[in-house]
Amino acid sequence: MAIQEHDPLLSVEHLSLSFETTESSVVVLDDISLAIGKDEIVALVGESGCGKSVTAMSIMRLLHSPPAQYKGGNIYFQGEDLLKSSDRHLRDIRGNRISMIFQEPMTSLNPVLTIGDQVAESLTLHNKLTKEETLKAVVDLLEKVRIPGARQRLKSFPTQYSGGMRQRIMIAMAISCKPDLLIADEPTTALDVTIQAQILELLKTLKRETSMSILLITHDLGVVAEFSERIIVMYAGQIVESASTRELFKTPLHPYTQGLLNSLPKLHNLETRLKTIEGYVPSLGKLPVGCHFHPRCSHVMPICRESCPPIIEIKQGHTCRCFLQSEACV
């Protein structure tokens, strides 16, 4: 599915964000543009520290300011500009129309409150419900995320649950108000592989039932391949490539994306060593001049060291930030 040009659910346009302290200013997000259509699953991939989570947090305006400072751009959600919304309005949106699942299920639940109270919180915050209605809704939610014996477990505490169960409770909280957009920030990173598969399967089922859109943040391309419809690749605070999943796996255009795909283990090719991308992700405080990726790029050209390539649409729905591609276009 290509980018739906008309009426996306969420559209982020040229968003720039920096972390400001008294000594320094670090650009964390540089000219981020992305769009998520209704009923679509989009994946945001990239190495650690490239700005994936910050992107998610900035969409929900959850970053503390200071240090975070929006430098430009717009975030439109269902036609409203979130950067211009009041705190009160944002609280109405959070948990109700956009909600989020965090990376660490072990620490995302308050250890001193019962599961029932915590799941009920979002519900009662955004809806007017009587006690019985809330109770029923909470039990329904817990059953929906397949917590066995939901009614008996309302009074239990997070320490009595395993990581996978806690993540399912986080999902229950996130979907309690039937949000239009669910941001899942590495929902399976802290879990083992079988639980990971269960959680992803659960998210997929829930998505089918409620037709919400999902922005999945991950560094696991295997997860992305089977789960998402479109992939956005980030590197050092910038989007470097964006395409449909099929397209991206078939013809990756950016050398970084190619490097990522080459470093995946392949079933039919039993090489002894996996390929890697040379070097490290640069620190955001000390970005190289020109294209951020050029020190690690195998196709580096003189121009890459001088200026940063613009992001351009190579094909319908496939954009890339690389001089190799723009040269090819000309």
């Binding site: 929900m60 959850l62 944002l90 609280r91 109405d92 949106i93 959070r94 948990g95 109700n96 909600s99 989020m100 965090f102 660490e104 072990m106 620490t107 995302s108 639940l109 308050n110 250890p111 001193v112 409150l113 919180e121 979002s122 915050l125 955004h126 320490t159 986080m170 909280m173 996130a174």
Partner: protein, 284 residues
């Protein structure tokens, strides 16, 4: 029922909590209930019995006006304990409120904590004496003065815990579902502060009793003829050679109370802080 039994066993296993709470309960029941059972006269002046040594009719002797020392210690204990209690409630209320707001809102923090620093820098007894002087009703005045003096201690300790909890992911998660700041503070952060607070306030109870004794000893606290442990000691100071019983027993009263409260505090800390539990692996 089984649960209660389990709790009782835990309580008995925790030595300092067990001994401290038994001691404190004994003192408190004596001070509170005995005057209802045995008639106590702490005020009648009997000039024929001035400075009598302990005897059958006056087990702890009499003071310079012939008043029964035992009665005065018990009635005075009520005053001391009630001041301790009032200070504990006062510092809990104001301390927690200030600490929660200061810990959560950075802008409030800057102003409030500098003010607390100034108050901490002031000699606390001196400040309390100055404050007591401005209140007429001496017992309540002492409570207010000590509350003002001890609130910064509670604020400091609770605030540091708030700062820790503020960074927890579950607080971030509750922001992500649209919970308003004040609700986050009271329903997500406050419960996490409670263990630290309970321990701190137990110690504060002890501090307040010592503080009251100090102020009244100097003579500006609880005013005669009303007895308190502090002013009995103060009166007895000049008679130390003639009537050592006058200074010994109220001193013992203060010591036992403070000791019992400190033991309770230590015991509670051990019971409530998972990191300090002996012989138990910490479960996350």
């Amino acid at each position: 029922m089984k649960n209660i039994k389990n709790h009782l066993r835990q309580w008995r296993k925790n030595r300092s909590l067990f001994i401290g709470s038994i001691l404190f309960l004994m003192l408190a029941t004596t001070v509170l209930l005995v005057p209802y059972i045995i008639e106590m006269d702490a005020f009648t002046l009997q000039y024929e019995k001035i400075l009598n040594a302990p005897s059958k009719s006056h087990p702890l002797g009499t003071d310079e006006f012939g008043r029964d020392v035992l009665s005065r210690i018990i009635i005075g204990g009520r005053v001391s304990l009630s001041i301790g209690m009032q200070v504990m409630i006062g510092t809990t209320f104001f301390g927690v409120l200030i600490a929660l707001l200061a810990g959560y809102f950075d802008k409030v923090d800057m102003v409030v904590m500098r003010f607390m620093d100034i108050m901490m820098a002031f000699p606390s007894l001196l400040l309390a004496i100055a404050l007591v002087a401005t209140f007429r009703d001496s017992t309540f005045g002492v409570s207010i003065a000590l509350t003002v003096v001890y609130t910064p201690r509670t604020v400091r300790i609770v605030r540091s815990q708030v700062l820790v909890l503020k960074g927890e992911q579950y607080v971030e998660a509750s922001r992500s579902i649209g919970v308003a700041p004040l609700k986050i503070i009271f329903s997500h952060i406050l419960p996490g502060v409670l263990p630290v607070l309970i321990v701190q306030e137990t110690f504060l109870f002890a501090y307040a009793i010592l503080g009251e004794a100090g102020i009244s000893f100097v003579g500006v606290g609880v005013q005669p003829p009303a007895p308190s442990w502090g002013n009995i000691l103060g009166d007895a100071r000049v008679l130390l050679r003639e009537a050592p019983w006058m200074i010994l027993y109220p001193g013992l009263g203060i010591m036992c109370t403070v000791l019992s409260l400190n033991l309770i505090g230590d015991g509670l800390r051990e019971a409530l802080d998972p990191k300090r539990q002996k012989g138990k692996a910490r479960t996350i």
